[in-house]
Assembly symmetry: C2
Homo-oligomer: 575 residues x 2
């Protein structure tokens, strides 16, 4: 790739590469601890940035020896897959493959076995790096993937290799230990695909999605800049002197929403818990003086229910972002009491956007609004991030008026909207129409310019000629003190086509009745002009367990499949 190293390419077009991120902490903080990893056994491992960089160089040499080949602009190189939890090796596996021009594919281990096999064979993974704890899972699907995957690499904090039918099976530390500790990283084209993720497949088989170096680079630098530009509230806690993040979100979920990229570029001390547990969370925050973290609502609920929660000093933690799924109001209130630094904003993103593209940041003129008014803003889907164009368009293809009423589809373009559905030009062309990526999500826009999501267009309840805004109903219902979770689906109706039904999970110990919910919706919804009477559910049911997808969203397909079963336990409401 020597041609890119000379004038004039560098002068006008220095490439946007993840390599720049990888090298920055080495240049600034070579001898500082960069990565802390606590394994499930409670053992700690610490690496300076130089040690981590040298290990990543060694891994790159090993990948070359294993025959891993780079790609070209728009043409992915060999896929290097991982079935791994959050640790230093997984971070090495974010950079070594991508910075030699190959593709990192973190396999989502929360998919069904069939879907997991599909992602591996469809991706054509050449090698899979597997954690010791996950090897049994690989053994279960081995026969279905062995003709695709050419080799496996075993990763463990203990030396030695296991007894297994999987082969060839290398051992990670053995593979890298004699390799050189420097690597002549190529100046790739920034358009070289870097990562491949799969959707969770709620509407069929999981779809593969690629992002190139340029896109991931621009996402990180825009998101970091966006933090700087977000208006502060007068009583916001001061930014910490030094940011120390704890990465709870699995790296196999869109690379923990981009954490490996922006945390390395910003030279943070990165704390990896292997996987989330209330115990490791509390211990790591206290010991490592963690200042920030991102959680999904379920993690927050688990923390608040953890009996030893109050025994730890969690005062360093001044910034928690809750994302991934809507944060129920009851949980939000409880969490805000426990964590003064909680930022319970909402946001919007999907696999196709490598996480965040809209977020409910406040506007400059809102800084002296009341907490109640701001809370209403923070539950909106949000404003486009810097570097993202977002519109809600009607069926005529034109933007809907910002009237807080007219529904349309969210369309996007910008620096980090997916490059392509991998090996699927048809689906790619279907999603990219008229220069916009079509999300399939229905929304309206309010008079302040905030997009407010209603539902997946395919999940929308169509009653008469109207779309029932299920997300609005869900949020409203979740405001009831006794409601922990609430979702709405459409049930077939002769007259209206579809009518709404509410599926509710109550707070443990709560004794609300279906009529209480109905009355609450009348008082808080209809009386206050938030919903109209025809949106009221025909059925309300209470359940211990509402089906969710692997990323914690309500699984409407699963609910519809078991609709009869759910209906039997629901109560017909007559108003």
């Amino acid at each position: 790739m020597m041609e890119a190293k000379t004038y004039p390419e560098f002068s006008s077009r220095y490439p946007l590469l993840l390599t720049t991120f990888m090298k920055r902490p080495l240049g600034l903080y070579p001898d500082d601890i960069g990565i802390v990893y606590r394994n499930d056994g409670g053992e700690y491992f610490r690496f300076t940035w130089r040690q981590w960089y040298e290990r990543t160089c060694q891994l790159a040499h090993a990948l070359k020896e294993l025959g891993i080949k780079p790609g070209k602009p728009g043409e992915p190189g060999d896929r290097v897959a991982t079935m791994a939890l959050n640790h230093h090796r997984h971070l090495e596996l974010c950079y070594a493959p991508t910075c030699i021009g190959a593709v990192a594919h973190p396999i989502n281990m929360r998919l069904s076995l069939d879907h997991m096999v599909h992602t591996i064979t469809h991706s054509g993974d050449k090698v899979i790096f597997v954690d010791d704890l996950i090897l049994p899972l690989v053994e279960m699907i081995y026969d279905k993937i062995k003709s695709t995957v050419k080799m496996f690499v075993f990763m463990s904090d203990r030396p030695g290799k296991p007894q297994t039918k999987i082969e060839p099976l290398y051992e990670y530390e053995e593979l890298i230990k004699n390799q050189p500790k420097e690597f002549d990283w190529p100046y790739l084209s920034e358009d070289t695909p870097a990562v491949l993720y799969y959707t969770t497949g709620t509407t069929g088989l999981p779809k593969g999605i690629t992002f190139n170096h340029r896109q991931l680079y621009l996402q990180s630098v825009h998101l970091i800049a966006g933090l700087q530009m977000t208006p502060r509230l007068p009583d916001d806690p001061k930014d910490p002197v030094i940011n120390i993040p704890l990465v709870n979100i699995p790296l196999f979920h869109i690379h923990a929403w981009g954490a490996p990229w922006y945390y390395v570029f910003t030279c943070c001390k990165i704390v990896f818990p292997s996987r989330f547990s209330p115990e490791s969370f509390c211990e790591l925050v206290e010991r490592e003086k963690v200042t920030s973290t991102a959680v999904v609502p379920t993690m927050l609920a688990m923390l608040l229910e953890y009996p030893d929660f109050k025994k730890y000093d969690l005062s360093s933690l001044t910034n928690i972002v809750a994302g991934g799924a809507a944060l129920p109001f009851g949980l939000k209130a409880k969490a805000e009491k426990a964590f003064p630094g909680l930022t319970a904003g909402s946001g919007y993103g999907m696999s196709e956007t490598a996480a965040g593209v809209l977020s409910s940041t406040i506007k400059r003129y809102m800084v002296d609004w009341s907490k109640e008014a701001l809370d209403q803003v923070r539950v909106k889907t949000g404003l486009p991030s810097m570097g993202i164009e977002a519109q809600v368009i009607g069926e005529d293809g034109k933007p809907v008026p910002h009237d807080n009423q007219t529904m349309g589809e969210i369309v996007l373009r910008g620096h980090w909207i997916m490059e392509q559905y991998f090996n699927d030009p048809e689906k790619t062309a279907a999603a990219w129409r008229d220069g916009w990526f079509h999300t399939g999500d229905a929304a309206k826009v309010d008079t302040d310019g905030y997009t407010i999501i209603a539902d997946r267009i395919t999940d929308v309840i169509r009653s008469g000629a109207e779309m029932v805004p299920t997300v609005l109903l869900e949020n409203l219902t979740a405001n009831h003190d006794s409601v922990l979770e609430a979702t709405f689906v459409g049930i077939p109706d002769e007259k209206w086509g579809e009518r709404p039904m509410a599926l509710i999970k109550l707070v443990p110990g709560a004794d609300a009745k279906e009529e209480d919910i109905w009355k609450f919706l009348e008082e808080e919804g209809i009386a206050k002009g938030k919903i109209t009477r025809w949106m009221m559910p025909d059925f309300i049911g209470f359940y211990d367990d509402i089906p969710k997808t692997s990323v914690g969203k309500y699984d409407k397909i699963a609910i519809r499949k078991r609709l009869d079963e759910f209906l039997q336990k629901a109560k017909k409401m007559t108003g």
Copy 2:
């Protein structure tokens, strides 16, 4: 440019354009005041972002009607020049030309007339937009530029056109007033040149330098992100809730170091003072609640000497960056007392880098260092910005060791190092060698990785086989309480080739003698191991006025030309 609007270009390569910056405040804050302009007569003009955007659209239509043509990647379009102070029209002239694909050329009006004429004819400016106050200057050079410049546009806060020989002369407000208020901005190639600046020509004729959209975009987004990543000190003032910047640096100086780009993208209320004066500075800070500003040291000195300074409430101003030239220690101490929010860091940049590429931000492990220790860090040239690679290389082309001693040349590459010297492939090729831009600045690197500049390689004093680090000597001398300014030049010496001479401007009223300076350098320099005896100046002279360039740097060429005159007033030191 329709081809860029459809799949697949947008999916993997959404262009990096200044157009994105221009449109962001329109999308988020259309009805907020975006620009405040106070003219020299004390009149105020205010524009909402929508008004400013609509005026910019109208200007773009007018430019098209005037026949302004766009460029192509690497090939500049027509040059649209300005001879103007800081106001809303000048900001419109940053965006309308660039976003239609042409080139904005802000003419540096502090150059000599000859050099100014050179920049206009060398650039081939097709049109010049001229402030009313500056028209007499244009009349002086009109005969020399009239065959190049096809038309002029007169800008004034008063209606009407002046009597003048300049023609054709349009009037700005007349030109735009009947134009449509929307414009179908093209999705240009991001490699289209956007701006053209000229160097100050300290070493010959000013050289033209172009930057394309991609470079300016990436500079802004990296610099904004860099702010977010800078470690905070425990006693740093909290970031303001909302940033309101006052733009003192003239837009004709590298577009005020990038202010039009990042302040528009961040949707700040931008405050323009026409030009800096202590009175307008104080009035604007008080009235507009300005929170941040950048100044050159001379402005700071003028402010502190302004008799009415203490009559104003300047408490909103929590962030002042001093740049452009070294901030003398005496001035720094006085200024820190007057402005608690002063950030008297140093930085490094040049026309060729569109301002900042290195800055003296502190490192994470320094947050609990003493103020004295941190002050020593803050006067260093600094660390590379995110997105910039910097090295100091020796004559063998290899990086010098980080030993705080070995000298070499600063070389750079990264996202916003100049595209080309305009119409000068030879000088371009001379500066871009081996994939690095050669700055011509001599420096060393300390053990913390901070680059410390010594001098222009061409200005370096060579005594015996050694280079005398003049900037070190200058900083050391400026620490003396009586010294306001100090510079060192080499004077011919039969034995050593060159020997150092100190040119000093004393603080008004100070009565230091040459021997006092000598003794100070011995005690603070030699005794403390900062310099060695052979670096001591052979001559020390006191002067009322040390020659400086138009951007406030010591003008070594002018000093050398008048060396005999300076030597006559200097004292020969014998130690």
